[in-house]
């Protein structure tokens, strides 16, 4: 690690995530040298890697990673840490939205969302935490969602998965106290990405580079929870305290 640029080596799990790549590009602007992109679709990852190289990355590596294949995660984490040098940041940017309608009718569809967003993140997060502890420093960042705060009628399958993983990483952050490792949970509102393409714009809809900026600012502050845009902290505080009937009406939109 480097005192000026903080993150010399970054790993993005979910390396095709729009927010993940925006964050990587911003980090490169600040001096990050090496990025490891891990994800399922390695062909697309190679294209993303080329893009990051053109943005100044000295080294970009591509690694195959399937969040649902939890039995492979321990080895994957060992592999990441054996690629030479310490890892300063791991960003868990993977996740699926799933089909809310199907999730309500078919338990298997709902469980699939939980498997990726919740189980997958816990399964890879635990060994990551162990390795980061072992080097005495590093950032472990989970991309959660404002949906974790109060799942809505329209997205509670996704919301439940995020609520679960959010709670787990909040606890992990407390367990990290005094180890030199910084665990941070990021809760973006609606972001214009591949995942939300075609969905209606709701108030405070934001862009990936705004989330990236908030993430990097959070790393500097060693924040525990980052809302993006920051106003979402206030918005969701309000939402959480709305009477259920009113919230149901609000939550039907978007």
């Amino acid at each position: 690690m480097n005192a000026v640029i903080d993150v010399e080596t970054a790993v993005i799990l979910g390396g095709n995530s729009d927010i993940g790549l925006s964050t990587a590009r911003l980090l490169l602007k600040q001096g990050t040298r090496k990025v490891i992109l891990a994800g399922r679709d390695t062909t697309r990852l190679e294209a993303a890697a080329a893009d990051l190289r053109s943005h100044g990355a000295a080294t970009v590596e591509v690694v195959s990673f399937d969040a649902a294949a939890t039995e492979t995660h321990a080895d994957l984490v060992d592999d990441l840490f054996e690629r030479g040098g310490d890892i300063d940041l791991v960003l868990l940017a993977f996740g699926i939205l799933g089909d809310q309608q199907r999730g309500e009718e078919d338990a298997a569809a709902a469980i699939e969302v939980l498997r990726v967003n919740f189980e997958g993140a816990v399964s890879v997060g635990v060994p990551l935490m162990r390795r980061l502890r072992g080097q005495g420093h590093g950032h472990l960042v989970l991309l959660s969602s404002v949906a974790a705060e109060r799942p809505r009628r329209g997205n509670f399958v996704y919301g439940a998965s995020k609520a679960g993983v959010d709670a787990f990483f909040q606890g992990l952050a407390d367990s990290a106290e005094g180890t030199g490792v910084h665990v941070m949970v990021v809760r973006p509102g609606r972001v214009r990405t591949k995942m939300t393409e075609g969905m209606p714009e709701i108030p405070f809809t934001t862009d990936t580079d705004v989330v990236a900026r908030d993430i990097v600012a959070g790393l500097r502050r060693r924040a525990h929870t980052v809302w993006s845009p920051p106003i979402m902290r206030v918005v969701m505080f309000g939402m959480r305290h709305l009477p259920r009937g009113v919230f149901r009406k609000v939550g039907e939109r978007g």
Partner: protein
């Protein structure tokens, strides 16, 4: 020795990039041997008083051996002016023990609060480098505890190991004890000449022309002055006062050494305290306060050598994000790099208290020893300064191109690919290091960041 080992977060003096390590606190040389046999994969590095600015004495996830428990000062050989001293003793300890007996440390950096082990590992320099060279020139032998066992190395006994250790950043073994040659002095007072220079060029000319007449010489530059006054500074040069130069009162206890800590930095300093306005005001006042030309002024050793030691914890002035010190050395003839560096930070309005400029004399044979004949410039810079990474990377290239280097004891941000250009004997050093530590037991955050040793290379 406490085998349990506390987990502690450590930084260097700049208070950047903390990492957590297991703290070992050896109390005897045998503890050091035992520790070397039991450390984990992440290895061990010795630490003294934590005055390296960057990550030289940190080892995240591994062991950091706090050496300040091994601080015995042995019998002084009055005839030879030589003392055996354990690595954890500080230069302050040495001055307090030896000045009353008429002996001074051969090299004193800007703070007394460094250990002898650290002084060897960084091959430190002081205001007398142009004339006397660096610390390890006065070290007759080193008790080095390597993972393969104890060695006693000297310039004529395994010189390769000795010179790899001199400036080797603690990576050749744990330095446990050294023999140090001292400087005889008649008084604990300095006789100082001060000159003010209106800009960088006149300052450098003054130094070139007059440094030879003084044992000690250093210039402070106001980095925030721009335009015609860019690089204006105050040059302080002097020597140890002789007995007959003291007043009659002082002559009664000429070797009295009683430095005071006058001020204490409050524990919490808001990040905004050090900014362009406060520093510009400080620098202006400081420059105006200095006499334009003064001769033969008598000062205490502490006031002349260690002005900042009077303010405990001054490193906290830079607030929670901390700061770094960029120190470069370039050969004579590369004055342009010095000008360019001062201009870069002057133009950027860098809130840097003071920069220090000095001329180096001959270096030692230390493979990684920093000083080389030429100029050295040291600047304090807040770590939060926007665009700092790119600016310093550009400077690194200019420094390397000119045949110069940056000082590893100050560094917290150099890129590994610059290292070989700055330290051309790096590969030679790596070979010796690998002989003394084939398993790569000696590691630090610095060694990993810069891929210094063969094991991390």
């Amino acid at each position: 020795m406490d085998d349990g080992g506390r987990q502690v977060a450590l930084t260097g003096w700049g208070r950047t990039a903390p990492t957590v390590a297991t703290l070992a606190e050896p109390a005897t040389p045998a503890d050091v041997d035992a520790m070397l046999e039991t450390v984990s994969q992440r290895g061990v590095i010795a630490r003294g008083l934590g005055r390296s600015y960057g990550d030289a004495a940190q080892n995240g996830g591994g062991t950091v051996a706090l050496m300040t428990g091994l601080d015995a000062i042995g019998e002084l050989d009055q005839a030879m002016g030589r003392v055996r001293v354990q690595a954890g003793a500080s230069l302050d300890d040495l001055m307090r023990a030896l000045l009353p007996r008429g002996w001074f440390v051969p090299v004193s950096p800007g703070t007394r609060h460094v250990t002898v082990g650290g002084a060897v590992a960084a091959d430190i320099h002081g205001k007398n480098h142009h004339r006397d060279g660096s610390f390890t020139r006065y070290v007759d032998d080193i008790d080095l505890h390597t993972p393969l066992g104890r060695m006693s190395v000297a310039p004529d006994r395994d010189p390769e190991a000795f010179w790899a250790t001199a400036g080797g950043m603690g990576l050749t073994g744990v330095i446990a004890e050294v023999s140090l040659r001292l400087l005889p002095v008649e008084t604990a007072t300095m006789r100082v000449d001060t000159d003010r220079a209106a800009n960088l060029d006149s300052l450098m000319t003054m130094m070139e022309e007059g440094d030879g007449g003084y044992r000690y010489s250093v210039a402070w530059i106001d980095c925030m002055a721009r335009g015609a006054g860019m690089g204006r500074g105050v040059l302080a040069r002097g020597d140890h006062a002789t007995l007959d130069e003291l007043g009659s009162a002082a002559r009664r206890s000429p070797l009295r050494f009683a430095p005071l800590t006058l001020l204490k930095t409050p524990p919490l300093v808001p990040g905004g305290l050090v900014n362009q306005l406060t520093i510009a005001a400080f620098n202006e006042a400081w420059f105006r306060k200095a006499p334009k030309r003064q001769r033969g002024h008598l000062e205490s050793i502490a006031a002349f050598f260690h002005p900042l030691d009077g303010v405990a914890g001054w490193n906290r002035m830079y607030g929670p994000r901390g700061f770094l010190q960029y120190q470069l050395a370039v050969p004579f003839g590369a004055e342009e790099v010095i000008r360019h560096s001062v201009a870069t930070f002057s133009a950027a309005g860098t809130p840097s208290f003071l920069a220090v400029l000095k001329r180096f004399g001959e270096g030692t044979p230390g493979h990684l020893s920093f000083p080389q004949p030429g100029w050295t410039l040291a600047l304090d810079i807040p770590a939060a300064l926007p665009g700092l990474a790119a600016r310093l990377n550009d400077l690194d290239e200019k420094v390397a191109e000119a045949g110069g280097r940056v000082y590893l004891a100050k560094d917290s941000r150099l890129q590994p690919d610059m290292l070989a250009a700055m330290y051309p004997r790096l590969d030679e050093w790596r070979e010796v290091q690998a002989r003394l530590d084939p398993q790569g037991v000696l590691q630090s955050d610095l060694s990993r960041r810069l891929r210094l040793t063969s094991a991390t290379h």
